[in-house]
Subunit: 239 residues, 2 copies
DNA sequence: TTCAATTTTCATCACTTGATGAAAAATAGC
DNA sequence: GCTATTTTTCATCAAGTGATGAAAATTGAA
């Protein structure tokens, strides 16, 4: 019914615009925004987009329901805000990690495992050191990654560039490899990585206590060499 | 409010019970049940449990909303029915496949890749030959596998036994390997496998047309050797 | 203090949700 | 055709959904 966008746009006018009179948003507004995002993040991660109501988010954050719409607009916009908040940090960390690896090695000493480690390690480190919010976030991404309806476009929108960077680096390292094979191997890698990062608890019960989802150190010790060996095997077989 | 279970139990009385008079459910009731399950399967696979309403399922199946509750009870019971229907077929096929592999080889000629192939191949074949319903089903399983809230227990309830069979077979083949490592490798394997089977379309756009989610032959040519090499590398490193 | 701008609360709307009970239609043994 | 049973439809409920407009409270510049 609404024509264009009657949307509320509180957006950080921060330091007061020229001639402005009103209240130049102090810290309180931002803190609340973050509180809402945190609450939404945890709930979305556990129950998915449709499994959460704006009222639940409001209750979890301890704010009025209307405030969510005031700050973020529609429910889907809130979700996007949750998704975007950490995606940028993540992409920067990964890009920096891969650039650092390439810069620190000359082509002769670079290895497939090294590149893969540079691609994955930032996520493991952030998940371990970044606080509980990051764990929820990875669970959220894993869920989106497996959502056919709109997951694909969402993932592409936020994460494609750094993936291309990985593939191109691997192509430089193994020029004889076909792109087909590299992309398929990436698909296998990301499936393993996301499931491990999302800490579903499945491996805990399956292994009857031998392994724990939360043990990212155990992931670190195995995932890099697992994926690297897989890549090499696929490339070798294709020749 | 309701005490115990006022639930409708139409359950196949099939061939008419002794002294029965009424109508001994012909074929129509069963067909309709399957139609509803098919509709629910497709919708759940695309949008998840909470992203689908019983009314949508009814509309898709071309039946009245009340009929769904008549046949399946609550929405969650419908979901479980969808999940269970193919899980049994799947488990039988995988168990048979692995047994056949073990029976056809003496220990000396068995390989890790062979065991893994016996574990995965049935799913690929069924997805290719079993009709569109199976593709939806795998997407559904992939989604459940990445759902922290209740996905873990659901997966365990339906799929743990055959996974233990895989791990035990691998343990026989590589007695020096630790269970820890085998379970982690399985975690990596299942992440890759489920993402590939669910055909999210993500690899299509990512690879800019080089690869296609629906190309399960491409998966077959790469996934077995990828995982096998990964397993061997992890086992070797642990020593 | 005044006052305009912002933030927060409150009440509520129009609509959808899962679910149910009662009536109607269909079915098959007698 | 009669009748007991099952299947299907219809109308509807109580609770909850996302969202909004208006009022109240808060804030800081003038």
């Amino acid at each position: 019914m609404t024509a264009a966008k009657p949307a509320p746009k509180p957006q950080a006018k921060s330091v007061a615009r020229a001639g402005g009179r009103g209240r130049p948003s102090k810290a309180k507004g931002l803190d609340l925004k973050e509180t809402i995002l945190d609450a939404a993040e945890g709930l979305f991660a556990r129950h998915g987009f449709h499994g959460v109501t704006t009222r639940q988010v409001a209750a979890e954050a301890g704010v009025d329901t209307a405030l969510i719409h005031y700050y973020f607009g529609a429910k889907r916009e809130l979700f996007d805000a949750v998704f975007l908040r950490r995606a940028e940090i993540l992409n920067q960390a990964r890009e920096a990690s891969m650039n650092a690896y390439v810069a620190a090695h000359d082509p002769a000493t670079m290895t497939v495992e090294g590149v893969i480690e540079a691609f994955i390690e930032p996520l493991l480190r952030i998940s371990q050191d970044g606080g509980a919010g990051w764990k929820s976030y990875f669970a959220l991404v894993a869920q989106v990654n497996n959502t056919p309806a709109w997951g694909g476009e969402t993932m592409a929108r936020f994460f494609d560039p750094v993936v291309h960077q990985l593939v191109e680096t691997l192509k430089t390292l193994r020029p004889q490899a076909e792109y087909r094979d590299l992309y398929w191997c990436y698909q296998f890698l990301t499936g393993s990585m996301m499931l491990s990062l999302s800490e579903t608890g499945r491996i805990d019960s399956l292994s009857e206590g031998e392994c724990h989802s939360s043990d990212l150190e155990a992931v670190r010790q195995r995932l890099f060499s697992y994926c690297a060996a897989g890549f090499e095997a696929v490339i070798a077989k294709a020749k």
